[in-house]
């Protein structure tokens, strides 16, 4: 068929993602939608066609669970959701603990029917399992199987019924024209479509399509093996497609499900088998479909043994044959998250890729909202395509991280778990010094950041039990009491922190000030030399980002933001640049390295290496100015994220080592300690009640709830101002609080320390739900060595957000008593901020 000449939006790919996209766009009022598909409908030959189609609801990630819950609801509404229940079984004690943790996550995200089963209870639900192999199971009644092809068909039909959609099947995209950084038209085998908005929903082929426009979608096709055996005698009289709960055999990285009279066994246990998108065979040249590649038996053999052990009655039945065995292709990404949103390279070009069946309709809804108003209901920041740095987009990085990540699909992944492959990538100028100090490096935005320094081990003795030692392996993993010792040393004396991962933009031009004022909640038009901390909002008042801006000149501002969301923040700023060119943004990240110098003796150290005035009156809080250190002209900014007197010192990167050495040498006399990010980002921050993006600050919370509303709102307009004003006028639905753990002693007698994302409940274990339907959960958790308590932050409904209120936190199947220590943003440590202003 011939494609239309012109479209309001072109969606490429009619799998479950593209089909959901066209429906949600149509629902939100888009018309002249063209859906291009190179394959044949209803099964175009991508991953949708061979997906196992089951939906387990709980993920430790709030964002992924939100997408999944929304998707399950949509599938239900479409009538394609078969609620079978699902059980994740454990073969090891570690896995049983993990299942307990998953129960907690399900409670955090409002999935209440979940429960742990004994092996016998599993057997009652799944009579063909050998329960002697397992220790128990995690049961979710709402787990189900969907007909994803039918769902796609219905979504397309609905869009067509609204008169919004033209579907062009068997049309292959051959090129994408980009002019002035904006997508303009799509060339296809059946003609050219003019379109200013294009969505790539091409699954494993997405990188190839994006490349046509000069954009990058860093995913790789990878093999997921599955076999279908049958006919199973005990299924022969079942009328349902699936009459038994789906089983995930977590420890062997496998799943098993009934499939009519058959039994499907899938695996994530085998070696990662990656493909290059251009190598995927054509539809014509494929024996089954392009994404159903020939089975490689030897990779699956060990899994057969595992399946046989768990389901001997079915898998061991000599009359049950292996009817289909495939290497199915799916999409893997370097960090395991989907890739969605407008590409940073090309305006109007959107990615909807690396999305699994379980989350597709929910993500499509999110993208459609994002495209329509810029204000998705679910915060997609973890999946935002703009999160990637250039090194993330290299084939080497993608291959390394997806290979490493594949076997973690069902893995027990620690919240702090570090990647091992393709490191190190970015090194601070002081890296060798830090290595010599025994730095334990964690990766952030590709940077190797010391999380703590083993050279500080002697500090543990100095501070004794104040370092809050941990005995449990889980909480000691990716942690050291040295972190708390460094914290205490900094509070007592002075610490030096490497902050190289900061992302820095210089904004210049006559329109710079007005431009920033339009983006930022707080006033940016301040005297030169002042530093401003400010959140950024979206139009509906959701919190988009938070960062600091230094005014360095009338028309020169330096924006400093965290590495984690730095590239996404860059896109927010870039997208908002004035069309008249009156302001420019320059990414100066690679020009500057940053060191933090904080503690009561910070001034002593700094004044030892500079003749510039660094006195309290000469260099007041929240100002910045040049300071010459050992012959290097640096920019120092008096600010603190740790609650101590001190500076962030911005140094030209090639002179960074010299300044580190100078500070180090001057610090000796003051017993300066190298201090890691464990203190900077967790312990010191929590004691001060500072909020972090991605933890406390997300689109679904507002500044009033976060306790960040200032007494007045600036007069000039900024994004989200109207919504913010409205939020200030009504009572918040929740209030961010700091809680202390009253007694971390578990039933076993061990002391347990929460790591974040656990549900906050009443002392009786009842969940807390606010007026907007959100559950209370721990947004951040960590030691408070200076206050002697384990600290949690959580949004609580107003009636619970009362200081002294006694609540509980659910952790590994037990409740621990907690107390609301602070309702709002008052610091728990040094509430008057005397230290910062000393």
């Amino acid at each position: 068929m011939t494609v239309p000449d012109r479209a309001r939006v072109v969606v490429i790919g009619a799998g479950i993602v593209g089909s959901s996209m066209v429906y949600h766009l149509a629902r939100l009022g888009w018309r002249d939608i063209v859906l291009l598909e190179k394959g044949m409908l209803p099964n175009p030959g991508g991953s949708t066609g061979h997906a196992s189609n089951f939906i387990f609801l709980t993920d430790h990630s709030k964002e992924m669970t939100a997408f999944t819950l929304e998707s399950a609801n949509q599938y239900r509404e479409l009538g394609v959701y078969d609620e079978t229940g699902g059980i994740e079984v454990a073969r090891t004690p570690e896995r049983m603990a993990e299942l307990n943790r998953r129960i907690a996550s399900s409670h955090s995200w409002g999935i209440d029917g979940t429960r742990l089963l004994t092996p016998q209870e599993v057997k009652e639900m799944v009579p063909f399992i050998d329960e002697s192999v397992i220790l128990g199971g995690f049961y979710t009644p709402e787990v189900g199987i969907v007909d994803s092809l039918q769902a796609g068909t219905l979504m397309r039909q609905k869009a067509q019924e609204m008169g919004a959609l033209t579907v062009a099947g068997s049309v292959e995209v051959t090129g994408i024209d980009v002019e002035d950084g904006h997508v303009r038209r799509i060339h296809t085998t059946d003609g050219t479509v003019e379109a200013e908005t294009v969505v790539i929903a091409c699954g494993v082929w997405s990188p190839r399509i994006a490349k046509m426009a000069g954009a990058s979608i860093p995913l790789t096709p990878a093999v997921h093996q599955m076999i279908d055996i049958g006919p199973v005698p005990m299924f022969e009289n079942t009328t349902r497609e699936v009459g038994y709960p789906i089983v995930r055999d977590m420890d062997t990285n496998m799943y098993e499900r009934q499939h009519g009279t058959g039994f499907e066994i899938g695996s994530y246990a085998h070696r990662a088998i990656l493909m290059v998108p251009d190598d995927i065979p054509s539809i014509e040249a494929s024996a089954l479909s392009p994404t159903m590649l020939p089975f490689t038996q030897e990779d699956f053999d060990p899994q057969l043994e595992d399946a046989l052990e768990l389901f001997p009655e079915i898998v061991g039945d000599e009359s049950v044959g292996v009817k289909l065995a495939i290497n199915g292709l799916l999409s893997l990404t370097p960090d395991g998250n989907p890739i969605i949103g407008e590409t940073p390279e090309v305006k109007g070009l959107w990615s909807a890729a690396a999305i699994w069946i379980k989350e597709a309709p929910g993500i499509a809804k999110t993208i459609a909202e994002w495209m329509t108003t810029g204000e998705p209901e679910i915060d997609p920041h973890g999946s935002d395509i703009a999160r990637f740095y250039d090194h993330h987009k290299t084939a080497q990085h993608i291959a390394a991280r997806t290979t490493e990540g594949y076997n973690k699909t069902y893995g027990i992944v620690h919240p702090q778990e570090q990647w091992a492959s393709n490191r190190p990538i970015k090194l601070s100028p002081a890296y060798e010094r830090q290595k010599a100090l025994g730095a334990e490096f964690f990766e952030a935005a590709g940077w190797e950041r010391p999380y703590w320094y083993n050279a500080n081990k002697p500090l543990i003795e100095e501070f004794g039990d104040a370092v809050m030692p941990r005995t449990e392996e889980w909480e000691s993993r990716w942690w050291s009491p040295i972190i708390n010792a460094e914290h205490l040393a900094m509070r007592d004396r002075v610490g030096l922190v490497d902050l190289s991962a900061f992302v820095i933009f210089d904004v210049t031009g006559p329109g710079a000030c007005d431009y920033l004022e339009r983006l930022c909640v707080n006033r940016v038009d301040v005297p030169v030399g002042r530093t401003v901390y400010t959140p950024l909002l979206n139009g509906s008042g959701g919190i988009l980002a938070d960062l600091t801006i230094m005014r360095l000149g009338r028309d020169l501002f330096r924006v400093v933001t965290g590495g984690g969301m730095g590239m996404r923040d860059k896109k927010i700023f870039t997208d908002a640049l004035p069309a008249d060119g009156s302001a420019q943004l320059h990414d100066a990240t690679n020009q500057w390295t940053t060191f933090g110098l904080w503690g009561p003796r910070a001034r002593d150290v700094l004044s030892a290496v500079t003749s510039d005035d660094v006195s309290h009156t000469g260099f007041p809080f929240l100002t910045s100015r040049t300071v010459d250190i050992d012959g290097v002209r640096t920019l120092a900014s008096r600010i603190s994220y740790v609650g101590e007197l001190g500076w962030e010192i911005y140094v030209p990167i090639e002179q960074g080592l010299r300044v580190w050495d100078a500070l180090w040498e001057a610090g000796t006399a003051h017993r300066l300690a190298p201090v890691g990010i464990g203190t900077y980002a967790v312990t010191a921050r929590l004691e001060k009640g500072y909020r972090a993006h991605g933890a406390e600050l997300e689109l679904d919370f507002n500044l009033v709830e976060a306790g960040m509303a200032r007494p007045t709102v600036k007069d000039t307009d900024f994004v989200g101002r109207a919504a913010y004003l409205r939020q200030r006028e009504s009572a918040p639905a929740a209030l961010l609080c700091t809680l202390t753990v009253d007694d971390p002693t578990s039933k076993s007698g061990a002391k347990r320390y929460m790591l974040g994302r656990e549900p906050i409940v009443t002392r009786d274990g009842a969940p807390l739900t606010d007026a907007k339907g959100r559950r209370s959960y721990v947004t951040s958790a960590g030691s408070g060595p200076s206050v002697g308590k384990h600290l949690l932050m959580a949004y609580l409904p107003p009636d619970q957000a009362v200081e002294g209120n006694q609540l509980a936190v659910e952790y590994f199947g037990e409740l621990y008593p907690v107390t609301v220590a602070v309702a709002g943003s008052r610091p728990l440590f040094d509430p008057e901020n005397a230290r910062i202003r000393s």
Partner: protein, 321 residues
């Protein structure tokens, strides 16, 4: 030197595929001789007139009345030696390939099966079929006697030219016990009723899209109305929905009806090679771009479970059946 062509025949008529082999032989610029096993008749003489044959060697040996592949091969080998044949040709039929394989084995010479083109030269350059014709191999055959079978329908059988009937000579082969030990001992009559797939003028074919054994009733109803036979693709037999005897394809039956109605058949190579000889193909498929469309003449895009019953109803309405 001559080319010896093994001509198969039935009821006094030369087999069409053997005529095709004769056509290829005639293009090779060497005298063509034929060998006919069985009773010579004026009818057969007529059928072989004007086909460029110099001599027909008739092997009318009662021991060869029942088909005995090794014995036939022995006769061909002995005759070829007697006539100093440079090349022995047969049709690429089941029997032709089988007898020529025996000839190759007896002479310990290579044999090229299902040749589509003889390009000439010595060593002989030729083109032959692989994958039942989905792929061609250009090959070189280096042997004192070239043994070939000609792929069915690789060339059209030339119309007979006016001319003299070939000379007829009889040949009496020397057959051993071993040559004769494998022969058709008896025949069993067909055990199926209904229209034979091989002879049907119309075939209704069903593939994966039919979905189940039961759903074939829809196809069988239409076939009944049209006096057609029902055929299936390989997936249908491997699913156990229908027996292999109904399978059309590389490893099943080759059909050549006037109309082949392919329902829910995607058109894998395996299947298409069996249906290629149909004069017309009508595809009924939900998918307008299925490979079957590249060989179909007509198509209906739609769900066969709706389309086929609708056609049956319409046939009933129009014919009053």
């Amino acid at each position: 030197m001559s080319i010896l062509v093994l001509v198969e025949h039935a009821e006094g008529r030369p087999d069409r595929l053997s005529l095709e082999a004769l056509t290829v032989a005639g293009s090779l610029r060497e005298p063509v001789e034929a060998v006919v096993i069985g009773r010579w008749s004026t009818e057969l003489a007529g059928g072989l007139s004007g086909r460029g044959i110099g001599v027909v060697h008739v092997v009318d040996d009662p021991r060869l009345a029942a088909f005995a592949p090794a014995a036939r091969a022995a006769a061909v080998v002995q005759l070829a030696a007697a006539r100093s044949a440079s090349t022995i040709l047969a049709a690429g039929s089941d029997r032709g390939n089988e007898v020529m394989a025996h000839v190759g084995a007896k002479l310990d010479l290579p044999m090229a099966a299902n040749v589509t083109e003889v390009l000439g030269g010595d060593p002989l350059r030729l083109v032959r079929q692989r994958w039942a014709g989905s792929l061609l191999e250009e090959a070189t055959l280096d042997a004192p006697t070239k043994l070939l079978t000609i792929a069915p329908h690789a060339v059209a059988a030339a119309d007979p030219a006016p001319g003299a009937a070939p000379a007829v000579e009889t040949f009496s082969p020397d057959l051993t016990e071993n040559d004769l030990r494998v022969a058709v001992a008896r025949r069993l009559e067909p055990d199926r009723s209904g229209v034979s797939l091989a002879d049907a003028r119309v075939v209704v074919g069903g593939g994966r899209g039919v979905g189940s054994s039961e759903a074939f009733a829809e196809l069988e109803e239409l076939a009944g109305l049209l006096g057609a036979a029902v055929g299936v693709s390989r997936v249908v037999t491997s699913q156990g929905w229908r027996p292999h005897s109904m399978q059309i394809g590389q490893t099943g039956m080759r059909i050549a009806p006037d109309l082949y109605i392919a329902c829910g058949i995607s058109g894998a190579i395996q299947h298409i090679v069996g249906a290629r000889a149909a004069k017309r193909i009508l595809a009924i498929n939900t998918d307008a771009e299925a490979p079957i469309m590249s060989v179909a003449d007509y198509a209906v895009i739609g769900d066969l479970h709706q389309v086929v019953p609708a056609i049956s109803a319409e046939v009933r309405r129009v014919t009053g059946r």
